[in-house]
Symmetry: C2
Subunit: 151 residues, 2 copies
């Protein structure tokens, strides 16, 4: 199988990674979740080439993860806003942050702290079961074919 | 900035993505979390080229995410086992699954269902605040410099 065929896989992980499993894409989405909306700001903050950035933003718009909204008519200028589908990637970003803070901090502590406005505390994300609320561990979960298995 | 420089960024997301932001790597880790340990099984199930698979597994071993363990002496055969650092990527995989099931199921429902052994129910992962336990939303979290900000 080639990478381009991964999207056709009957697996949610494969389908998802076919969209944001490219270099830069999750970094772009992380900056979007922090409030960056404009091409030049993404470009400056990420240091990515304009060509690659345009290509990645185009994919994210085509996939309905970002919407491209005109904010100035003369000259025409656009910003990129997270759609509900894009906002729903936040748990994924928080999972990356939590893991990176825990395992890649080089002993210096987290570069950035996250404050939950609801409770006012510095926190990290914890992945729990939607039914019982207990933290999920790899060896405590089994899989079985779901309704979309046989398509 | 080139992608190869991303690892040096003072950002947990960038550092993490420098490891598993490559094509295939998260798919390999997803299969590892489902119990796949052997080179040939990864290769068959993913349909990835042997060259790319060897390269990706090598990186994951070098980063301490998989450990390479000999299970046969003659001929020498190895398997790849998730380390604690690798097992700790499970929340990230569950976040990808939940998002893919929700947004990419093509109307057919989840291809695979996950059963939480602790409670016995089909469930999905929910990302909550480590302090108050409430589900995290993008617009309810702010950021500030952490202890590792100035390194």
């Amino acid at each position: 199988m080639k990478w381009d065929d991964v999207k056709g896989n009957n697996c949610s992980v494969a389908r998802a990674l076919s969209i944001f499993g490219e270099r830069w894409t999750l970094l772009i989405l992380n900056h979007a979740s922090l409030g960056v909306t404009r091409f030049d700001h993404f470009q400056t903050q990420l240091g990515i080439s304009r060509h690659l950035l345009a290509e990645r933003l185009g994919t994210l718009v085509a996939e309905g993860i970002l919407s491209k909204v005109q904010y100035l008519e003369h000259p025409p200028r656009y910003e990129y806003i997270l759609t509900p589908k894009g906002q729903d990637l936040y748990p994924l970003l928080m999972a990356i942050v939590a893991w990176g803070d825990r395992w890649l901090d080089r002993g210096a502590g987290a570069p950035v702290e996250y404050v939950h406005q609801s409770c006012g505390h510095v926190m990290h994300g914890v992945m729990v079961c939607s039914v019982c609320g207990v933290e999920l561990k790899c060896d405590d979960v089994t899989v079985k074919p779901g309704p979309g298995w046989d398509i």
